[in-house]
Symmetry: C2
Subunit: 344 residues, 2 copies
């Protein structure tokens, strides 16, 4: 019989997770008190700021349990948070994992989820140092707080883009949205898990290594990850920096997979690039003179493409899309909004 | 018409909360990046360890919306976390608040909840620096990560109790459990909100100031808060310190309110003291020679009683209750366990 949470209880599960982390996780230097006390504690590095971010995923809303394995779910939940730390130029160190779980959840599923967390944390020598387990017969949720560090004064913000800056983006935003739509439209027994767009949705890549390298280059003026969709997050930069933006449609990067997926879905691929999509790519702004240095910083450590797609303008909060024929249209920066009707 | 979340959306709500915090919250020194970026950041104090804890409350499971105001709910959720920081001798600094909310939640309720958070944080000059809002049409939840600090090497653990140590407890554990039972047994329109036991359940006090003073005294060997019930948490100390404990029944502190409440509920007041109860008192162990110094540390700053209730023994994990007639019985340290059948 499958062992479930109700069989071993909260404390039993904590012991089991503790064991798994000791075997498969890494020990982050600086940790002074780990799992098993009222709090965890660590000794911060001199000359560094501490970064903190927090992201929550609710079943049915942020993931579809029938379409994602517990391992990939764990990876995805951790990637969201790692992406946030990378987007300000930091390095992840410690995670706290808070889970709302049904009492009939198989223990092996919880363990697989932790393996997913660890798979994403280990490359950074980052580790899980605490958390919380809560019985929730409603929708399960995964809420992660991730702590990182960045050299003092080196945090890259979203509020510091300058008029005239180039706008760059990593990878191919929109692939995740296309993957989600393919899943939603698929026949019940279609096996899409290995489809590149579905993989982009289920286990998106973070760009934290790239974000850190970009920050270290000293050439970036503002940065953000695309968790609210390309337009949504460019909108955040515009709002916080009190600037506008001009995007050149034909420069927007579209992967071959996205082009084919858009065709299959009967959609304009540019819509997929611009609107809500959980890709966790980076939007970067920098002086036009520094674009090459940003390219070099990324090329030195990964083959993720970086594409220049437009300019920052002085038209506060206005985002224009320049079309192939030279005409333009104003586009709305409303990204993913969890509560309004238009929100996902 | 009552303004609800669906009217103003996630970003609208974030703006509203931001405004409230700027007006009613404090600014914690050291914060370098607050709400409104991918992460928050702060500059830790030299010579201090950073503490992190995380606690989650789910509606219907950890609180009863019909019996608690949003303001008190906010206070209670923050108290849980402040208690954990205090139990290791630390001082709270920064909170991240993650909420799962139904889209029909009144904005004024969310604002009242934040006023509750702030009411508990302000006395420490601690502040909310980030978080997450998630739509959840299931059960709403409040998940808080609280960050604190403690002088390097001064963290008080649960794993360091010594054989022969005195066992002390603050306040009156069990009042919260009695309050909850009164609520559950009450007539639908009974107004119990001002009943002292119900107040102990709805807005329990933390003992973080006391915990910090006890830690600073240098006399404590182990400490824990009673979030899993007195026996549950004494059990954690015994397990982690590889010791046992002897409790003297007649020394267990019982308030007049608890005595009356137990009578009304037809229960043994000692059962209420020992078993599951959300009181957030402190269990302290120290050398018998240091009991007076612990008393003095607490008396200097509050009128919370501290009671010596027993001794740490060498009978690993065994907890004995010495009765009035000199006989004893072994009692189980199983505290609140969220997943097993006996769990709450």
């Amino acid at each position: 019989m499958t062992e479930i949470l109700a069989d071993i209880g909260e404390f039993g599960l904590i012991d089991r997770i503790h064991e798994l982390l000791q075997k498969e996780g890494v020990q982050t230097p600086g940790l002074t008190l780990g799992i098993g006390d009222d709090t965890a504690s660590f000794l911060p590095h001199a000359g560094y700021e501490v970064l903190v971010t927090c992201d929550c995923m609710v079943e049915g809303r942020h993931y579809l349990p029938q379409h994602i394995t517990p391992l990939d779910l764990g990876r995805r939940a951790m990637v969201l948070n790692i992406s946030d730390i990378g987007a300000v130029g930091g390095k992840p160190l410690y995670a706290l994992v808070s889970l709302g779980l049904r009492s009939d959840t198989p223990i092996s599923d919880v363990e697989a989820m932790y393996r997913g967390f660890v798979a994403e944390l280990n490359p950074f020598e980052a580790s899980i140092i605490g958390g919380n387990l809560t019985k929730s017969e409603g929708r399960p949720f995964i809420d992660i707080t991730l702590i990182g560090e960045v050299e003092y004064g080196k945090t890259v913000r979203r509020s510091t883009a300058k008029v005239g800056d180039a706008i760059l983006v990593t990878g191919y935003p929109g692939q995740s949205a296309a993957g989600l739509q393919l899943l939603l439209q698929a026949q019940p027994n279609a096996d899409l898990l290995s489809h590149p767009l579905v993989r982009a949705y289920n286990i998106p890549s973070h760009r934290a290594w790239e974000g850190r390298a970009i920050a270290q280059s000293g050439c970036v003026t503002a940065m953000i990850d695309t968790s609210d969709g390309f337009l949504g997050d460019l909108g955040h930069i515009c709002k916080e920096s009190a600037v506008g933006a001009e995007l050149i449609q034909e420069k927007l990067p579209i992967s071959e997979a996205l082009r084919q997926g858009a065709q299959k879905l009967g959609q304009d691929p540019y819509d997929l690039v611009l609107k809500d999509s959980d890709d966790y790519e980076l939007i970067i702004t920098c002086s036009p003179d520094h674009v090459d240095q940003i390219y070099s910083a990324v090329v030195a450590l990964s083959d993720v493409p970086v594409t220049e797609v437009g300019r920052i303008t002085d038209m506060a909060r206005q985002i224009k899309l320049i079309l192939r024929d030279g005409t333009w249209s104003e586009i709305s920066p409303a990204g993913w909004d969890h509560f309004t009707e238009s929100g996902g």
